[in-house]
């Protein structure tokens, strides 16, 4: 046993796969301890907030200390933030269209561009081919340009509760800074938010846990059924074997995924929990395990050690458990790993089609992909809503296949180098 473990952990492929898998598993276990938020809690209005730190504006005004930093490029950045190159190009286009000489416009000089704009822009003038949306855009742009080059600070005013008049209470200068840590409320979204305004990272880690559980349950259900049927049909033989092989053939011929879709559809949305889905996946994917186990048992059942066990008066169950199962255990473990991996993939496939677990309780990797797809994250270029999920699925699958290949090389003499 010790030697076997040593052999297994001597295989580089197995170790790499195992480390990746363990890292995923540990993240799933440890992350909720530090971030105890409910994974499906909606924490933002508006969809697809991009990844980054969000600082509370109100609290940053009230922040304890303000620091003054003298930086040279602060103004340029501020202007660039409010007036993008795209906006400049649009303004240029309008000005040229309205008869301003092209040579006169210097796109880089903001002050000159703004002067020209103020001089020439007329919201009522329509260029040929200009749509209403374009016109509205120019009006919005003009409004946003107000005070762009001002060096004055922003005035903060509050309502006097007695008179109802606004009274200036504070001025925020352009050179004022606050320390992020001194702002009472700020929030880091490492992977942004999804279409419902939920933190993608928290959701993803919870979903990974649920998907792994689904994979484990599906794998264990499939492997147990496959193992029991394979052992019994291979060892007992005769009529029992014929009947079981008939059932196996039946399940081999029906495309598993179609069967899976039909079963989950007929169960109905209401009763489709994550556990139910896992069991259904397990019930439809045992057939290859049982075939392989049966073949191995047939080659084992006439060995002398089995005959000796029979002569020692052991029952069929005892012989299967003690004289056959240990000899195929390495194979069964490998099959289990593959079943878990394919269970996770099957859940993802099913959920993308909208036939996964009902959506109100737990996230799964497949459900997250489904949501990202329905809300067009891939079209809107919101990569954080689907790319990390695809990566996690690929990583789980990769690590498990790597472990399987490593085990195969340890236990299959033909593959040893």
């Amino acid at each position: 046993m010790k030697l076997m473990l040593k052999q297994v952990f001597g295989s580089g492929k197995f170790v790499i796969g195992f480390v990746i898998f363990l890292a995923i598993l540990l993240t799933v276990v440890i992350y909720p301890i530090f971030v105890p938020d409910a994974p499906l809690k909606i924490i933002s209005r508006g969809t697809f907030l991009s990844p980054g730190i969000y600082v509370n504006l109100y609290d940053s005004i009230d922040s304890a200390t303000r620091y003054t930093l003298i930086t040279d490029d602060a103004e340029a950045r501020r202007v660039a933030g409010r007036l993008s190159d795209e906006d400049r190009a649009k303004m240029r286009e309008w000005l040229i269209g309205n008869g301003v000489d092209e040579a006169e416009i210097d796109g880089a000089d903001t002050a000159q561009l703004l002067d020209l704009w103020e001089l020439n822009f007329d919201p009522t003038v329509r260029l040929p081919g200009m749509t209403n949306a374009d016109r509205n855009y120019y009006i919005r742009l003009t409004a946003s340009l107000e005070g762009l080059l001002s060096t004055e600070g922003a005035t903060i005013a509050s309502t006097n509760p007695e008179t109802g008049a606004l009274e200036q209470s504070d001025i925020v200068n352009q050179t004022d800074y606050v320390h992020v840590n001194e702002v009472a409320n700020s929030r880091l979204f490492i992977l942004g938010t999804d279409n419902f305004g939920r933190d993608v990272l928290t959701e993803l880690i919870s979903a990974t846990g649920v998907s792994l559980t689904i994979g484990f349950v599906a794998g264990i259900v499939a492997t147990s059924i496959g193992l029991v049927l394979g052992l019994v049909s291979g060892y007992v033989g005769g009529m029992v074997d014929q009947v079981i092989v008939f059932i196996m053939n039946l399940f081999t011929v029906i495309p598993t995924f179609v069967l899976l879709i039909l079963i989950s559809f007929s169960i109905g949305q209401e009763s489709r929990g994550a556990f139910t889905i896992a069991v259904v996946i397990g019930l439809t994917s045992w057939v290859w395990t049982s075939r392989a186990v049966r073949a191995q048992v047939i080659s084992l059942r006439n060995r002398d050690h089995v005959n000796l066990s029979k002569l020692s008066g052991h029952s069929i169950a005892y012989i299967l458990a003690m004289d056959i199962l240990p000899y195929i255990a390495s194979y069964v473990v490998m099959a289990l790993i593959l079943q878990i991996s394919s269970g996770i993939l099957a859940e993802a496939g099913l959920s993308i089609l909208g036939l996964g677990p009902r959506t109100t309780e737990v996230p799964t990797l497949g459900l997250m992909l489904n949501w990202a797809m329905i809300y067009q994250a891939h079209i809107l270029n919101k990569w954080w809503a689907y790319l990390p999920i695809i990566l996690v699925i690929a990583l789980i699958s990769f690590s498990m296949n790597l472990m399987n290949t490593g085990l195969d090389q340890v236990f299959n003499p033909a593959l040893r180098d």
């Binding site: 005959n307 008066g313 003690m322 240990p326």
Partner: protein, 269 residues
């Protein structure tokens, strides 16, 4: 030692593998009657159906046709408990000691199985140890060195001796030894055979040797059955069959025995 009581006999025992054009008749209408206490050898070349017959006698394979009588009665091994009762009376030693043991079970477990088979499952552990120690010393093995070891840690000869220790504990009426010495070197061979004959005297069983080695058959047996293509072609006392063979096949088997001081006749090979 020998008595006239027939312990195991068969009438028209046949085993056919496969169907139609793939049909192989491994054992073809074989009749025999083994008397209690005599040493029997079934001799034949590879593929003559010896091992198949041995498995049928052991009840590990079901014969296609024919009846087997044990202790004068038609053998009935249709249920597990009846099989268990049958196997208390008939046991086997297999050809290859290296594949005869489950590599996941320790030597103690193998021997304890035998004690349990004899109905000693509820004995105190000290008593069981005493029995195992006795069995091991009978075959010149030291139980204290074997305990908590796995069978594959022993040499081939030791493993086969352990197999005899098993039989010592089981004390069956019939022992089927399927080429018990073919995987063992010549020195250990004589030891194993002597131990088997000692064991026979000790527990009074009927050994049936299945072998291709006609020399071994002559050395140990009272009665010899010569088997060719699933049929018994010649049978009788060892002296009659081996010293005065009637069939050409028997003569060929005899001429195939390696001799030291004569030129070896390879013409029939």
């Amino acid at each position: 030692m020998k008595s006239d009581k027939v312990i195991l006999s068969g009438k028209g025992v046949t085993k056919i593998f496969g169907f139609g054009s793939n049909k192989t008749v491994a054992v073809d209408h074989v009749d025999f009657s083994f008397r209690e206490g005599e040493v029997i050898s079934i001799v034949g070349e590879s593929g003559s159906g010896k091992t198949t017959l041995a498995k049928i006698l052991l009840g590990l394979l079901k014969q296609t046709e024919g009846e087997i009588y044990f202790d004068g009665q038609l053998r009935d091994i249709r249920s597990h408990s009846k099989k268990k009762a049958y196997w208390q009376n008939i046991q086997a030693i297999f050809q290859d000691p290296f594949s005869s043991y489950n590599v996941f079970r320790k030597i103690d477990a193998v021997l304890l199985d035998c004690i349990r088979m004899r109905g000693g499952g509820r004995l105190p552990y000290d008593k069981k140890r005493e029995m195992m120690r006795e069995a091991c010393s009978f075959v010149n093995l030291k139980f204290d060195e074997l305990t908590n070891k796995y069978p594959f840690e022993l040499s081939g000869g030791q493993q086969q001796r352990l197999m005899i220790a098993r039989i010592f504990l089981l004390k069956p009426k019939i022992l089927l030894a399927d080429e018990p010495t073919s995987m063992i070197d010549a020195c250990s061979r004589a030891t194993i055979l002597d131990m088997l004959m000692d064991l026979r005297n000790e527990v009074g069983m009927t050994p049936i040797f299945i072998t291709h080695d006609i020399g071994l058959a002559y050395y140990v047996s009272d009665t010899v059955y010569i088997m060719e293509h699933g049929k018994f072609v010649e049978s009788g006392s060892a002296d009659a069959v081996i010293l005065h063979p009637k069939k050409q096949y028997t003569q060929r088997l005899l001429s195939d025995v390696p001799k030291l001081h004569e030129e070896w006749d390879l013409s029939t090979v």
